[in-house]
Symmetry: C2
Subunit: 569 residues, 2 copies
C-alpha cells in the first residue's frame, strides 16, 4: 500500500451499491512519454496460460523449486500492541534512539521505549509464509507465487486489502478508481511526473516543500511555482491569484496543470488542511483543470491540537481522555476515522486526484526494504482492516505524545505567548516564544513562577510556531529582526545575508550537538521573497526520533544559543 | 545484487594491488535529463549526524521502535543443497509445476521435484534477523537499520558481498568501477535509458531481443536498430557494417551510442557468446564510442553443450562426469568459474560496460518481492562468496539437465540430423529435425530402431535449432518452406502472410494444450526482413518450468501438429 492512484478503469471495480459518477476524460494530461508507452506483447500471452491442462513452454519464468527460501516467518506486534493513552510525559524516558547516525548504537543497550511507555503489556504474534500454496485462490499468500509475482499492481491479497481501506477511509467521490502498489512514494511521484509533465512544464508546490519531491521533477527541467501557505497549508486566495493572473509569455511556460501537496502534517511546515479549505482548493483545480497529487505520509498521525500545560494544566493522559475514548472498540475506531481530515479524494467527483500513501513513515516499512509477502500476510491476513485501523490509532497516539513533549518543553524553557485572535482557527494560531528575563530559565518550578508573573518576559520575540496537529515536525520561525544587526545586514546583503545569519545560527546549534534542518532546504522558489515572512528564518525540528531526555536537552540548548545570538553586538 | 553498474568513482575503490587503468571520461554520453538531476540538499546534512552525542532533530525518519516487525526468519537451503550431478533424465519426474497459470495448483499435492532429483539429501538452515543491532558495524544486519535504510547503493553488507563477487568473477579491466543495487533489471535498464538516451536516439539490439527491454526504451521514442545474430549471438561483421555505413540523414537519427545485449543464453535465441567474439564486439564499441549494456539473467546457467544420446549414448550422469568433477571443493568451484564465458567487463579497459545482473532468474528472487534484509543475511553472512558459487553450480546443473530433457526429447520424437560443418564451433552448429517416415514415431524403443536405420527420414525438414549452452530457451526455427503453399502465400502476402502461417501453427499448438511464444514477439525491427532466415518462422520454447512428463507430452504434440501442418493441402 504505497500509493493509491485514482485511475479511471470503467466498470471493472464499479461499486453498484452507491451512485457515483465515473471519472471524466483527463487523458489530455498524459505526457508524450506516457502516450508512447507500449504494453508487453508477451503479456498478451498470459491469458492463455490459465487454461486447465496447458503445458507452459512460453514463459521465461525461473523454476520456483530452486528458490532458496522455503519458509519466511516474522515476529510482529499484534494490532493492539501500541497503547492509545500515553502516560505523563514528565517521565525521563528510556531508549528510542537519538540522532540519525547514532541510533543503532544507542539502541543496543538501552531498554525499549515500549517497556517504559506501555509497561510489559506489548503483545506479539508470529506470522509464517510457506513455500507451497495452501489453496488455489489468487489471494493465497505463498512464496512460490510471491517470489515470481510480477504484476504491476502487486499481490492480489494486498490489492484487496488496500481497496477496502481506500473505499472505507477515503471514500472517493467517483466510482471507477483503482489502486497501484509502488515501492515507495518517491518512485510513485516519479511515475506521476513522467506520466503528466512535459519538459519545462510548471508544477505547483507549497512555498516550503519537500526537496525530495521537487528534485524528482527537476530532471525534466520543470519550473517550481510556489503558492503561499499558512498554518493550514495552501492559501486558496493566493493559488487562485497565481492561476488567474497567469501570463504565459512573461513566465515563459504554460499555466501549471499539476499540484504537488502534502495536506496533513506538511513537510516542513507541519500544517494540516481541513475539509472546508480542501473543498475550495479542489474547486480551483477543477476551474483550472489541475491534477492534484496528494502525498500523505503523515495522514494517520492527525491528532487533536496541542494544549498548553500552563493555561490548562493537565496530565497528558487526562488530555487524551478529553478528546478520545481510550477503549479498544469498533466505535472508538470509527471515532478515530471520523476525526481524520478528509482526503481530497472525498471531494473528487472527476478523478483528478492522485493520492500517494507512503505508509512507511507512519506504520510499516516500505516495499523496497521489506518483503511484500510479509506485509501482505500481516495486513491482509493477520491484522485485516479493523486491526490496521487500531494499529494506526496506536501510531497516532505515539507521535501525538512526542509532539506534546516538544511543545511542552518549549513552554517550560521559553516564555510562550498565545495568539489571542479569536477569528483564527486553532490550526493557524501562532505561539510566540520569548526570552525570559528572570533568572533560572528552564526547569518546571521556575516556569510555573514565571507564568504567574506575566509581564516579566523580555520584549525579544525569539521564535514562533504553530503547534502541529500531525506529522513529525515543528516549523520554527526565527524572529531575525530581534537581532541587533538585522536591519543593517538585510540592507547590505538582502536575502543572502539573511540566509547567512540563519546558517551561522544553525552551525552554532550543531556545534552544541543539536542538529536541525535549515528552512531554506525546503524553499520552493529560492531567491523569490516570501511575502509577509521576509524577516523570519526557518528551522524544521523533528520530534520523531529523540527521546524525552534528549529533546529536553536540545530545547534548552536552542534557548541558550538563540538568546546569546540575539544579544550579539 | 541486481545490477553491477561499472561507474567511474576514482580512487574510492581503487585496488592498489593490481595495475589497472581508470575509466576514461564518458560523460558526454549523459542525457540532458541526467545532467539536470540534483542531489538532495537534505542529504548534505547527514554527514553531521554521525557526530557522537549529536541530538538529531533534523531528519524526517519514522521511529523504528514502532515498526511492527520484531524479528524475521527464513528457512533456506544450504549452499550445497542442490546436487551437481543429476541422475538420468529417463525417470518420469515428479512435480515442478506446469504452465504459468496452473503452477500453484499443481504444486499443492505433488511431491517435490527435489525429492525425486536428489533423494532426501536436501539440507536447510534457518537465518534470523533481529530488531536491534548486534554491533555498531555498518555491515551489521538488523531490522532497525534495514527498515530505514535508504541509500541508493543498498545495504553495506550486500554491497561488500557484490563487490567481492564482481571483482573475483567478472574481473573488470579498469580500476574505478562501482556497483549499484536496483530492484530489478527492468528498473536498472530504465535508469540507464534515461541516463544515456535523448528522445529519438537509436539503440542497438540483437535482431531478436527481449520485448521487456525494448518497451522500456520506447517512451523516449527511441529507434530500434537490429544487428544480425547467429547461434553465438551478435555477428561482428554485421554490427561493424551497420555502424560504418551509418547515414544519419537517411536514417533520420544519429548513430546509436548504446548497445543492449544478452550475451549468455540470450532471450529468445538461447545464443551464448564466448570470449573471442566478445573481444571483437568490444573493440567495435570502442571504435564507435558505444556504451555496452550487458543484461545477464542467465550467466551462471552456462553449461557444456548438449550431447546427442544417439551418437554418444550415455547416462546423463555420466556425461556430466566427463565435463566436470562432481565433487564439492574450492577446486571444482574454480573450475566452474573458469568455464563461464568472460563478462564484457573483463575486456573493459575504458569503463564503457554497464553490467546488469538480474539474479532472480537464476538464483534467488529480486528485491521487489523479497526482503533485501534476508537476501543480505543469506548471501553476505550465511552462504558468503564460496557458498554462493557452490549454489550457482547447483542451479547450473538443474537447468542443464532440463535443457538435456528437451533436446533428448526432440531426438527421441523427431529424426535429428546434425550439421557436420567442421569449421563451425559447436555453439553455432544447427540441429535439424525431420519427420519420421516409419510408423511408431516417438517412444524410446522406436527411436532406437530408427537410429540404426539412417535414411528412413523424410526429406521434410520441420524445425532447426542450436542446442543452447545457457539460459532457459530453445529457439525453434520452423521450416515454413516445407509447407506446400508457402511459396504461394509468400508471393501473395509477403512477411504478413508468413506471420499468419506461424500464428495458425501457434494457435493449433495452444488448442492442443502446448503454449509456446511466437518469435515475432521478439522482433527488434518488425517489418524489416531477417536476411537469410526469411523462410523461417520462430518459436521460443522454455524448458524452465515443465516437468519431464509434461515436456515429453509437449514435444510429441509439437511433432504431431507440425507434421500435420506441413501435410496440409
Amino acid at each position: 500500500m504505497d500509493s493509491a492512484f485514482a485511475i479511471a478503469d470503467h466498470e471493472r471495480y464499479r461499486d453498484h451499491t452507491v451512485e457515483l459518477p465515473n471519472s471524466i476524460d483527463l487523458s489530455h494530461h498524459l505526457s508524450s512519454l506516457a502516450k508512447n508507452r507500449q504494453s508487453s506483447a508477451l503479456k498478451d500471452l498470459y491469458r492463455y496460460a490459465a487454461r486447465p491442462g496447458m503445458i507452459g513452454l512460453a514463459g521465461g519464468l525461473p523454476n520456483p523449486e530452486i528458490f532458496p527460501f522455503l519458509e519466511l516467518s516474522a515476529q510482529v506486534y499484534t494490532h493492539d500492541a501500541l497503547g492509545i493513552t500515553p502516560a505523563t510525559a514528565n517521565v525521563g524516558g528510556g531508549g528510542g534512539g537519538g540522532g540519525t547516525g547514532s541510533d543503532a548504537q544507542s539502541m543496543v543497550k538501552k531498554p525499549s521505549f515500549f517497556e517504559w511507555l506501555f509497561g510489559k503489556k506489548t503483545t506479539t504474534e508470529t506470522i509464517t509464509i510457506g513455500k507451497q500454496p495452501a489453496s488455489a485462490s489468487p489471494l493465497d499468500i505463498n512464496l512460490n507465487t510471491l517470489l515470481q509475482y510480477s504484476s504491476a499492481q502487486g499481490h492480489p491479497a494486498l490489492q484487496a486489502f488496500i481497496r477496502e481501506f481506500v473505499s472505507k477511509v477515503y471514500q472517493p467521490a467517483f466510482a471507477d478508481w483503482d489502486v497501484l502498489l509502488n515501492i515507495g512514494s518517491t518512485m510513485a511521484w516519479s511515475h506521476v511526473v513522467f506520466m503528466l509533465l512535459e519538459p519545462g512544464d510548471g508544477v505547483l508546490y507549497e512555498e516550503w516543500s519537500y526537496p525530495g519531491a521537487m528534485n524528482t521533477a527537476s530532471p525534466l527541467q520543470t519550473h517550481k511555482v510556489s503558492i503561499k501557505v499558512d498554518g493550514e497549508g495552501l492559501i486558496p486566495e493566493d493559488m487562485n491569484k497565481v492561476l488567474a493572473e497567469w501570463d504565459e509569455e512573461k513566465r515563459g511556460f504554460r499555466r501549471p496543470r499539476v499540484l504537488y501537496t502534502v495536506p496533513t502534517g506538511q513537510n516542513p511546515t507541519g500544517a494540516t488542511m481541513l475539509a472546508a479549505r480542501k473543498k475550495i482548493i479542489y474547486d480551483i483545480c477543477v476551474k483550472y483543470d489541475i491534477i492534484i497529487v496528494e502525498d500523505e505520509p503523515y495522514y494517520a498521525l492527525y491528532a487533536d491540537p496541542w494544549q498548553s500545560q500552563k493555561h490548562q494544566p493537565k496530565q497528558i493522559g487526562a488530555r487524551y481522555a478529553d478528546v478520545e475514548h481510550h477503549t479498544d472498540s469498533k466505535d472508538t475506531d470509527e471515532e478515530f476515522l471520523k476525526k481524520l481530515p478528509p482526503s481530497y479524494l472525498k471531494f473528487d467527483y472527476q478523478g483528478r486526484v492522485i493520492r500517494m500513501d507512503p505508509v512507511k513513515k507512519a506504520s510499516y516499512p516500505d516495499f523496497r526494504n521489506k518483503s511484500a509477502a510479509l506485509v501482505a500476510k500481516l495486513l491482509a491476513e493477520t491484522w485485516k482492516y479493523d486491526g490496521y485501523i487500531r494499529w494506526l490509532r496506536g501510531i497516532k497516539a505515539t507521535y501525538a505524545m512526542r509532539r506534546d513533549w516538544m511543545c511542552d518543553l518549549f513552554e517550560t524553557v521559553f516564555h510562550l505567548e498565545f495568539d489571542q485572535t479569536l477569528a483564527l482557527s486553532q490550526h493557524i494560531r501562532w505561539v510566540t516564544a520569548y526570552e525570559r528575563t528572570a533568572p533560572g530559565m528552564g526547569g518546571a518550578g521556575a516556569a510555573t513562577i514565571m507564568d504567574e508573573k506575566r509581564g516579566f518576559k523580555s520584549n525579544k520575540a525569539i521564535v514562533s510556531f504553530v503547534p502541529p496537529t500531525a506529522g513529525m515536525f515543528v516549523w520554527l520561525a526565527v524572529h531575525l529582526e530581534s537581532h541587533p544587526r538585522f536591519a543593517q545586514i538585510k540592507d547590505a546583503d538582502g536575502p543572502e545575508g539573511v540566509n547567512k545569519m540563519l546558517y551561522e545560527l544553525w552551525t552554532e546549534l550543531a556545534e552544541k550537538n543539536v542538529l536541525v534542518s535549515p528552512g531554506y532546504f525546503f524553499d520552493a522558489q529560492p531567491g523569490v521573497p516570501h511575502e509577509g515572512t521576509e524577516n523570519f528564518g526557518f528551522f524544521r525540528l523533528s520530534f520523531s526520533m529523540a527521546n524525552h531526555e534528549q529533546m529536553e536537552s536540545a530545547i534548552k540548548t536552542i534557548y541558550k544559543v538563540f538568546v546569546s545570538f540575539f544579544q550579539e553586538k
